[in-house]
């Protein structure tokens, strides 16, 4: 009876929900999404649109400045820089995305457990978070690479070991605060079932903050994965990768600054665009409360 009364209120349709969500977004959300989608699309269709084979060497065309033939010039092995920049983000973006998804799932799960159980389990889990959050993921990655050697699995594992901690903290905080909200009380008093409350109130209210942090962490992971590749602990040399290209370009930076500028700009733009998405999700332009 109570639930029926509750449901008689006109429920907003899915479409109006989406429209409302979009109207409340900050400009950074749209600009960030646009840039990021363009980057993703370019990375996907790179093999068909790139003017040259990114691995094709031509020692006669080493370190050529930008020209009509090679729009961004060539690197120290005569490979076309534009083709390499177009394809060079695939590995980094994939690894960072997988890491973030894993971190969100594990972190949210542990956070909710921690927030619901309190007591000793909560204490041990949160102290683990305190400890892990202060260890740089690069150090863990170095340690794991020393044991297992470089590779997809090693990178994902080493970044996830630390990566889940912010989500656990966030999910725990959200669990605690949502449980004490008035509207949850109200729903309980109205006799709503536990499942109804969780699906109707708890989950919708946790998605946006968690998604916002996920995008912000995604930007950070992009840079970290690149850093490991730069050190030679990530992507291995024959592949075209932005950070690897930067590492290769160190010796030629003075002669050909574009070798450093182009791949670095690509990483920077990817990281900035996802940071903007996260920032745009985080603030609500129509409400004064902010977070």
């Amino acid at each position: 009876m109570a639930v029926a009364l509750y449901n008689q209120r006109k429920r907003p349709s899915a479409l109006s929900g989406v429209v409302g969500f979009i109207r409340r977004r900050h400009w950074t959300f749209f600009v960030g999404s646009t840039i990021f989608l363009v980057i993703l699309a370019l990375l996907l269709i790179a093999p068909w649109i790139s003017p040259y084979d990114p691995a094709q060497q031509g020692l006669r065309f080493r370190l050529k400045p930008p020209s009509a033939l090679h729009w961004l010039g060539t690197d120290h092995l005569g490979r076309d820089l534009l083709s390499r920049v177009l394809i060079g983000g695939r590995f980094t973006v994939t690894i960072a995305a997988v890491t973030v998804v894993l971190s969100v799932v594990i972190g949210t799960f542990i956070g909710i457990i921690s927030g619901r159980s309190r007591g000793l389990i909560d204490e041990v889990l949160m102290r683990t978070v305190d400890l892990l959050i202060s260890i740089p993921d690069v150090v863990i990655a170095i340690f794991l690479v020393a044991i297992f050697g470089p590779g997809y699995g090693t990178l994902i594992a080493s970044l996830t070991i630390v990566g889940w901690t912010p989500f656990a903290r966030l999910a725990r905080g959200l669990t605690l605060s949502i449980n004490s909200q008035e509207y949850i009380r109200a729903a309980e008093v109205l006799g709503c079932t536990r499942r109804f409350i969780i699906f109707r109130h708890v989950i919708p209210n946790t998605i946006r903050p968690i998604a916002a942090v996920a995008f912000l962490r995604f930007g950070h992971k992009l840079i970290t994965v690149g850093g490991l590749s730069f050190l030679g602990l990530g992507v291995q040399p024959p592949a075209a990768d932005w950070a690897l290209m930067l590492a290769d370009a160190q010796a030629y930076a003075e002669r050909m600054p574009i070798l450093v500028i182009a791949p670095g700009l690509a990483i920077f733009l990817s990281a900035l665009s996802v940071t903007w998405i996260g920032h745009g999700l985080n603030i609500d332009t129509k409400k004064s409360s902010g977070h």
Partner: protein, 314 residues
């Protein structure tokens, strides 16, 4: 509060014990026999003499039960004896202490710059939310967070070392070689400190005691100076500790680019050369230090924040 502290330190000790077990087992996890790994890293030869392997195993005590080896290793580690580096044959502890000094200097310089810029900037941004300075600050934070250090470092070296010739592009000899690495490392903490200060300040400026101070006739700037800064900078203490721990070893990319003999560089070289005692020592050292620094920061936070004393729920 004392029970809380005791419980906390017990859990931390337990974690340190787990970390030490992981570090101890490192040579066993790399696959195969540690004696062979050690000989391989010395000789660079896969066809090893079985007698030499056996002799080394006995001389290192690797034929004893694992738990005996662990406690021997732990006892030595506690006394500061972490063994000898495979590559340089120097004591690991001595090399770690030297590298730690370098990394701490670098990290403290970078963090000092970050705090000096972030506290005023975050405060000013919070005083007029949505204003021009606030928008600029937000954009600056996002730009700094998205800048990879392995991009900023070569670019700044290109401009200030190669084109202008003001600063050295690598090495570690005078204060001049500290400038570029510190600037590179300061970007991200600077961004986070500013963000944290701005958020904390926004909350503080809404607090009743600020309204009270204002209604007593104290000007906006006086209020911020007397009540705001002290309360708004509290979270920065925690973040400072977090970043200090994070930069010891976490600055590996910058240390490699600028050829700085710090902690990150040491770990990186240890991986490249498969120098196991150095890796074990470095790992335990970094984890122990980050635990120590964060525990101290928590204590400091309680000390400077009167509201925290007697608050058992934190």
């Amino acid at each position: 509060m004392w029970i809380q502290a005791l419980r906390r330190s017990l859990i931390l000790c337990l974690m340190l014990a787990i970390v030490s077990v992981i570090a101890f087992l490192l040579p066993y996890m790399t696959g195969g026999d540690p004696a062979r790994t050690i000989l391989f890293s010395r000789m660079r030869d896969t066809a090893l003499d079985p007698h030499a392997v056996e002799a080394l195993r006995v001389s290192l005590g690797l034929d004893r039960p694992l738990y005996v080896q662990y406690f021997t290793w732990l006892w030595n580690a506690v006394r500061g004896d972490l063994g000898f580096s495979f590559t340089s044959s120097q004591p690991v502890a001595a090399e770690l202490i030297h590298a730690l000094g370098v990394s701490i200097t670098l990290a403290l310089t970078a963090l000092a710059i970050a705090v000096i810029v972030a506290l005023p900037l975050g405060t000013l941004a919070a005083m007029r939310p949505g204003g021009r300075l606030d928008n600029f600050t937000t954009l600056m934070i996002q730009t700094f967070v998205a800048t990879p250090e392995y991009w900023f470092a070569p670019m700044s070296a290109l401009v200030f070392a190669l084109y202008l010739g003001w600063l050295p592009s690598a090495g570690w000899d005078s204060w001049r070689s500290l400038v570029l690495p510190a600037l590179t490392l300061t970007l991200r903490p600077l961004a986070y400190f500013t963000q944290v200060t701005r958020a904390a300040m926004t909350d503080v400026l809404r607090a009743p005691y600020i309204t009270a101070a204002r209604s007593r006739g104290l000007g906006m700037h006086g209020t911020v100076m007397r009540h705001g800064i002290r309360n708004g900078s509290l979270p920065v203490v925690t973040f400072f500790a977090l970043w200090l721990a994070g930069l010891l070893g976490g600055s590996v990319v910058v240390e490699v680019i600028f050829a700085i003999p710090g902690m990150g560089r040491l770990l990186y070289d240890a991986v490249i050369n498969r120098d196991i005692p150095m890796l074990q020592g470095g790992f335990v050292c970094i984890v122990a230090l980050s635990i120590l620094i964060n525990t101290l920061a928590d204590a400091l936070y309680v000390l400077i924040n009167p509201a925290m004393r007697g608050n058992h729920d934190h």
